[in-house]
């Protein structure tokens, strides 16, 4: 498998750990499931600001430790013109609030609450703050969209999809099937 090593010259060559391939090619093994995910993804993002949703996707993917998803969504954000600092600071957004709008901050806070359900519910405080910045239809979409990136994270982590190969702008149907002949 080709790594970034190949792009450096001999003098600066560094030995990285070997890449591990996917455990499970789930999209090929369950094509109907994959089709439903693509359809769900398209439906859930309707009406959401793409810049805001990209931040939400990166943050959820960080919390869920989905390497493929972080690779994909940081590259997509950069390709869409997002500022590097806003991506870099996402992992500490509570301490770097001045990089984000109040609406984005409310969305990020909601993202964390909806993503970490096992620690208990989505508090009234977090929900109300989001409700101040999003009208009801948009908020319902945001909740669905947070759930959807969580779903992609689950497939990505469980199937152990390798990061590093994603290129923005590729055909949607190939996005989540790295390693597939193209």
């Amino acid at each position: 498998m080709r790594t970034t090593n190949d792009e450096t010259n001999d003098e600066t060559r560094v030995e990285y750990a070997p890449e591990t391939g996917p455990r499970l090619r789930w999209a090929q093994l369950a094509p109907d499931v994959y089709k439903a995910m693509i359809r769900l993804d398209a439906a859930a993002r309707q009406g959401l600001d793409p810049t805001l949703y990209e931040l939400v996707k990166i943050r959820a993917s960080q919390i869920n430790h989905c390497a493929l998803c972080i690779d994909m969504h940081t590259k997509d954000a950069l390709a869409a013109g997002e500022r590097v600092e806003r991506i870099v600071q996402l992992n500490a957004w509570e301490e770097s609030r001045h990089f984000y709008t109040e609406k984005e901050l409310a969305a990020l806070e909601l993202t964390e609450a909806v993503t970490v359900l096992t620690d208990g519910f989505v508090s009234d405080e977090v929900y109300e703050r989001a409700a101040q910045h999003f009208e009801e239809v948009e908020l319902a979409q945001l909740i669905s969209a947070i759930a959807v990136i969580n779903a992609w994270n689950r497939f990505g982590v469980t199937a152990r999809m390798a990061p590093g190969h994603y290129q923005p702008g590729r055909n949607q149907s190939e996005r989540h099937q790295p390693g597939r002949p193209t």
Binding site: L29, A30, N64, V114, T118, V122, V148, N150, N153, F155
Partner: protein
């Protein structure tokens, strides 16, 4: 005295709802084991504290003939002796790992244990069942949809 639970919003985009149903249906069909699917969905709903989902899937599990003993002991399946067979235990261990990603990954041990009981196609669909119910859990808990709205 009854507690008052306030629904936050009942809004769920129709296309989103339909796609979520299609996802669940494709996942369950490919797994080909409706009773096991219900056990998995109940366990994930327990971990995610989704009252609506628990109410719904406990009803569906009973309809599928899942025993009361299994339903009673599901939250402590690891300590429940032979109430659950090895295949069910492997599926439940995977359910927990895939549901609690924030504590870190899906360990090889858990994954391999599941792979020992499910072929790749069934395993992909089992992961899809776990993912689909996690999706429903998030949508229902966030909107605070109360239990009791579902009749099989």
């Amino acid at each position: 005295m009854t507690a008052h639970v306030t629904v936050r919003t009942r809004l769920l985009d129709q296309a989103v709802g339909q796609a979520m149903s299609a996802l669940s249906a494709a996942a369950k069909k490919g797994l080909g084991d409706p009773a096991l699917a219900e056990l998995v969905m109940i366990r994930a709903s327990q971990l995610n504290h989704c009252a609506f989902c628990l109410d719904m899937h406990l009803a569906l599990a009973r309809k599928q003939g899942v025993s009361e003993k299994q339903l009673d002991l599901l939250a402590a399946w690891e300590e429940a002796g032979d109430v659950f067979d090895e295949r069910e235990r492997a599926a439940l261990a995977l359910t927990e790992a895939v549901t609690v990603l924030t504590d870190g990954f899906v360990p090889d041990e858990v994954y391999e244990r599941a792979a020992g009981h499910f072929d790749d196609v069934r395993l992909a669909h089992l992961v899809a069942v776990i993912t689909a119910i996690n999706n429903w859990n998030r949508v229902m808990v966030s909107r605070r949809i109360p239990p009791g709205g579902y009749t099989p």
